[in-house]
């Protein structure tokens, strides 16, 4: 059963005040201009439709990346409109139907997307109540909606479906429209079961990788042997023996196979005789950090500055410095990227699990030189998405192949395509310095970050790049400057990002981009300073933290983890256990997270066993506590994996970690327990939970290793080889 088709049937059946649409290309393109639904993010009907039967349709530009946010958004709308959740259906990520709410990333889906929906629903609720006031002849102040029915405490009432009119929701969102008080919530704040999980468990869910349309062919791509290699020759006759090959498509250095069956496409891609030019433009991996240091700096971004840090550091009697580095990571979705494209009569429809369908639309339109209006991109949920992975690139591949054969084409990347060609979390290097005054106070803090230039904009589509077509792409690693500035009140501090002209592998954002790497360095170096002056890591942080909410969180973390009662490690034991603490106020403006890691270090082998994480988490108003716990657990487990195991390897031509054997991730036997204290603040704004808990993980582990062994780990991943080397050097 397909959820989206379900919703379409539901819309048609209920006669909602929206255009009908279809998942087939003909239906998609048949949508008449006169009936076009507004996708304005300023209008109520951009986000909401209410049928005459009271069924509510939500049009969300924020999409569910496998996080469960669709359930939380449904809770927000149902709560604000006072309708049952079962009367609310969500259509997500469709350029023809949903407002452009920006990329689904950065833990903003609730904080921004949810608030937009809440305001739209509050505006709709007031419009419904005003209409009810007229129809029921009651003062509006006496009316309320209860479970989808409008009325006063006693007297006549009407279901909201009987009150909606054609134009009722065709109005601007009023950000001042009265919102429900948190004390009156009955849906928000409850651990509602996720709406998608039953279907996923019972094999009823349609992932992007399951999606198909009539007449669809199967495509696979054949990538160069090196990132900059060019296609010298290919021999189509080499796969003539494979049945069902429809076409070998070459556009400059873009090469793909289209076949009638998926297996034939795979065989064709594997067996096609092809010669690429030699290209060895990557740096030596062993010299990666020197390469980063030697890369031209295009500009400096100073992200915070207080006092005169350089001079204060120079004048300080005690000086500390350390360099931290964080390896290149891949996204590693369990399901490789996938897209289906249909390109006919100059109009393109593309289905994929993109975080940003509106951006993708513009990129695909540029690539095939049609107007944005002739492209429709529709989100279909894929395997877990932790950033800008390969779905947009698969969309470009499918589009180029569909254009070449004149029929719809589905492309799913193979595992090596995904590990090799998805954009990577860039190598990140940080130099840290601190000055301590004669009284043992921190007099100066300086940090210098080396990261690629760019932000969170368009990332070049792989297929477009190979085909020599423009896809608006630039160097864009994500918001990697965030959390370089620190939450502690030091009298002199400067944090500077050196923006690099290039980086070896095409970068993009992966979960907690920049924030993760910067918090690793900040919270490790804070621990170094605390140790240097003989302070407990917790007391040291509390001493320099003015933020009452942050202090409250750290105290709750201390109680949860029994920090102050933790046992002293026996540093002579072969396997020694330590505890490490880390804290972040995400981007200094939102979610607070503190964590304590309990880590056992095998001094003989250098192996780390992360036994347990205690986490205190304050993201303001909690929409769904179980969904939030699920996300926090995922943040911790995934980032433990990234911290102790993961790094992309490459030779001078290409990524060499092209499967799970060469890019191992955490397995069941290595997963820590995660104990969480959720700090609910129902009267505060809701912030995100999909990322912030990631940021504290590497430093918490490294600091635990220090407590256990007296050795600092400053290079992620903390592999046994690195740990052993650090122990030997101590």
């Amino acid at each position: 059963m397909n959820r989206m088709i379900d919703r379409r049937s539901l819309l048609q059946a209920t006669g909602a005040l929206v255009v009908t649409f279809s998942l087939t290309p003909s239906g998609a393109e048949a949508q008449s201009a006169s009936a076009a639904k507004t996708v304005s993010p300023d209008r109520v009907d951009g986000f909401l439709a209410i049928g005459t039967d009271g069924k509510v349709t939500v049009y969300s530009g924020k999409v569910d990346l496998g996080t469960g946010v669709l359930t939380a958004l449904t809770q927000i709308v149902a709560e604000e409109l006072d309708v049952p959740m079962s009367d609310v259906a969500v259509i997500q990520g469709d350029t023809a139907l949903t407002p452009d709410q920006g990329t689904t990333s950065g833990s903003f889906s609730i904080q921004n997307g949810g608030i937009q929906l809440r305001q739209a629903a509050a505006t709709a609720r007031r419009a419904i109540l005003r209409q009810a006031s007229v129809v029921l002849r009651r003062d509006i102040s006496t009316l309320a909606i209860r479970n989808g029915v409008v009325g006063a405490a006693i007297g006549p009432n009407l279901p909201i479906g009987e009150l909606v009119t054609d134009t009722m929701l065709a109005r601007d969102i009023d950000k001042e429209a009265p919102e429900k008080a948190a004390a009156d919530y009955t849906i928000v704040g409850k651990p509602v079961l996720r709406l998608d999980i039953g279907d996923k468990i019972l094999a009823r869910f349609t992932y992007m990788q399951d999606f198909k349309i009539p007449g669809m062919l199967h495509g696979r791509v054949v990538r160069p042997s090196g990132f900059g290699a060019t296609l010298v020759s290919h021999d189509t006759s080499s796969i003539a023996h494979i049945p069902g090959i429809v076409k070998v498509v070459r556009i400059d250095n873009f090469l793909g196979i289209v076949a009638e069956t998926e297996w034939s496409a795979i065989r064709g891609a594997r067996q096609l005789a092809v010669t690429w030019s030699k290209w060895d433009g990557l740096p030596e991996q062993d010299k990666l950090w020197q390469h980063v240091r030697d890369t031209p700096i295009v500009r400096d971004d100073v992200t915070s500055s207080v006092g005169a840090a350089r001079a204060a550091h120079a004048a300080a009697p005690r000086q500390l410095s350390a360099t931290y580095d964080f390896a290149i990571h891949t996204h590693g979705s369990i399901g490789p990227s996938c897209a289906v494209a249909s390109f006919a009569d100059g109009k393109l429809t593309c289905w994929t699990a993109s975080q940003a369908v509106h951006d993708l639309r513009r990129q695909l339109a540029a690539m095939v030189a049609v107007s944005d209006a002739d492209v429709r991109c529709i989100y279909v949920e894929g395997a877990g998405c932790y950033g800008r992975n390969g779905h947009e690139d698969a969309a470009a591949d499918a589009t180029l192949l569909a254009r070449a054969v004149g029929k719809p084409v589905r492309v799913q990347w193979m595992r090596s395509d995904e590990h090799g060609w998805d954009p990577k979390g860039p190598p990140t290097l940080l130099d840290m310095r601190a000055g301590i005054d004669p009284d043992g106070n921190v007099a100066a803090w300086e940090s210098e970050l080396f990261v690629p230039d760019g932000a969170a904009g368009y990332v070049t589509l792989v297929g477009a790049g190979l085909a020599g077509l423009d896809s608006l792409g630039k160097l864009n690693p994500g918001g990697v400057l965030n959390d370089l500035a620190i939450p502690y009140d030091f009298p002199n501090l400067t944090t500077t990002a050196h923006r690099l002209e290039t980086t070896p592998l095409k970068p993009a954002w992966i979960r907690s981009p920049g924030r993760l790497q910067n918090t690793f360095a900040n919270e490790s170096f804070i621990d170094e300073i605390a140790d240097h002056i003989g302070a407990d890591p917790l007391e040291f942080r509390l001493r320099y933290l003015a933020d009452a909410r942050g202090k409250e969180l750290l105290e709750r973390l201390a109680r949860l983890s029994k920090w102050r009662e933790r046992p002293k490690p026996d540093r002579n034991a072969d396997i020694v256990t330590g505890h490490g603490l880390a804290y972040v106020k995400y981007e200094l403006v939102r979610t607070y997270v503190g964590a304590v890691a309990e880590v056992a270090v095998n001094r003989k082998t250098g192996e780390l066993a992360v036994k347990r994480f205690h986490v205190a988490h304050d993201c303001g108003q909690i929409i769904n506590p179980d969904g939030l716990r699920n996300q926090i657990e995922g943040c911790i487990v995934q980032t433990v994996s990234r911290t102790i195991k993961e790094q992309v390897t490459f030779d001078r031509s290409m990524v060499t970690s092209l499967d799970w054997a060469s890019y191992p991730i955490l397995t069941f036997l290595e997963v820590p327990d995660v104990v969480i204290d959720l700090i609910d603040k129902p009267n505060e704004a809701p912030w995100g939970g999909g990322e912030p808990a990631c940021a504290v993980v590497p430093a918490a582990i490294g600091n635990a290793v220090f407590e256990a062994t007296g050795v600092r780990l400053r290079s992620v991943p903390f592999t046994p080889a690195k740990v052993s080397a650090a122990l030997r050097a101590a």
Partner: protein, 152 residues
């Protein structure tokens, strides 16, 4: 090519493929429309494609159709909407899903374990699932769900 006879989810079906080495996964997904098993790596490394063959967990992405002689059960055949398998009920009760792409493998691998050992320890569950990868970090809930199913 002559059709190959295959027992899937209690039914005997005839499938015709160009290549007898076609992995079972593509036959299930594309010829029979069974989407429970998923393509994850094509290398037998991640477990997303896991099915049962004669009650043993098998990686369908590296199992040629020609090598399949036993009774195949996919996630679709494990339980029904009306009568979910206890493992499925337990996964829902524990909300043991984030994206859920790997969950087919987690459920099928666990089903094979519980057939052999109805009362596994937590450590045995983890060892059984050690070659099933989850990227979202749902491991803790998955283990709880399998333990819940084992206790039911």
């Amino acid at each position: 090519m002559a059709p190959t006879s295959l027992s899937v989810n209690g039914r005997t079906v005839a499938v015709t493929v160009d290549d007898p080495d076609t992995p079972l996964l593509y036959v299930l997904r594309n010829e029979l429309g069974l989407h429970g098993p998923r393509f994850g790596c094509g290398l037998g490394q991640c477990g997303a494609c896991t099915v049962l063959v004669d009650e043993a967990a098998v990686r369908s992405c590296v199992t040629p159709l020609s090598a399949v002689t036993g009774k195949v059960v996919t996630l679709e055949g494990l339980g029904s909407d009306a009568n979910p398998h206890p493992i499925q009920e337990a996964f829902i009760a524990e909300q043991a899903v984030q994206c859920g792409y790997c969950i087919n493998g987690m459920i099928m691998q666990s089903a094979a374990l519980l057939k052999r050992n109805a009362r596994p320890t937590e450590q045995q569950v983890k060892a059984e699932l050690a070659n099933n990868l989850c990227r979202c970090g749902t491991h803790l809930r998955i283990v709880r769900a399998v333990m819940r199913a084992a206790g039911s």
